[in-house]
Symmetry: C2
Subunit: 82 residues, 2 copies
């Protein structure tokens, strides 16, 4: 399916889909449902993938937060590439 | 935690939380993250519950759609309660 076909099937303008793709606009729940329906994708599957992705991000963030603090070394020159 | 405390911790007005609760406003992802953080609730857990709830709704809708059509009986009086 082309973006143009998706736009027509979901009744969402090409410009708006593009804004959502680039993270400039947030899709409302109605819009998500409409795009999922046009893509024959159950909304629960999209939400499940978002849930997994957010959970993975939370695990990474928790790991970083639990790392021991490394004392900053000051006064040493940054090695040059030369 | 009271609603007032949640409002202060999440920096979301009481009125806005109330609008979201009643389904009059949709919470943006930033707002959801802020409310979850104030509630010490991982965003992934909230999303997981929404995913389960949407999946259950999809299953119910699919069951209704697959029910055999019952031919309407016409011309018969509706039994009265008397």
């Amino acid at each position: 399916m082309t973006l143009r076909q998706l736009s027509a099937r979901a009744r969402v303008s090409l410009g708006y889909i593009s804004e959502i793709e680039r993270g400039h606009k947030e899709a409302s729940s109605e819009l998500l449902a409409s795009l999922c329906s046009a893509l024959d994708l159950p909304l629960s599957r999209l939400l499940g993938e978002v849930t997994d992705s957010v959970a993975a991000h939370e695990r990474r963030t928790a790991q970083v937060a639990s790392l021991p603090a490394v004392p900053a070394r000051t006064g040493e020159p940054v090695p040059s590439a030369a």
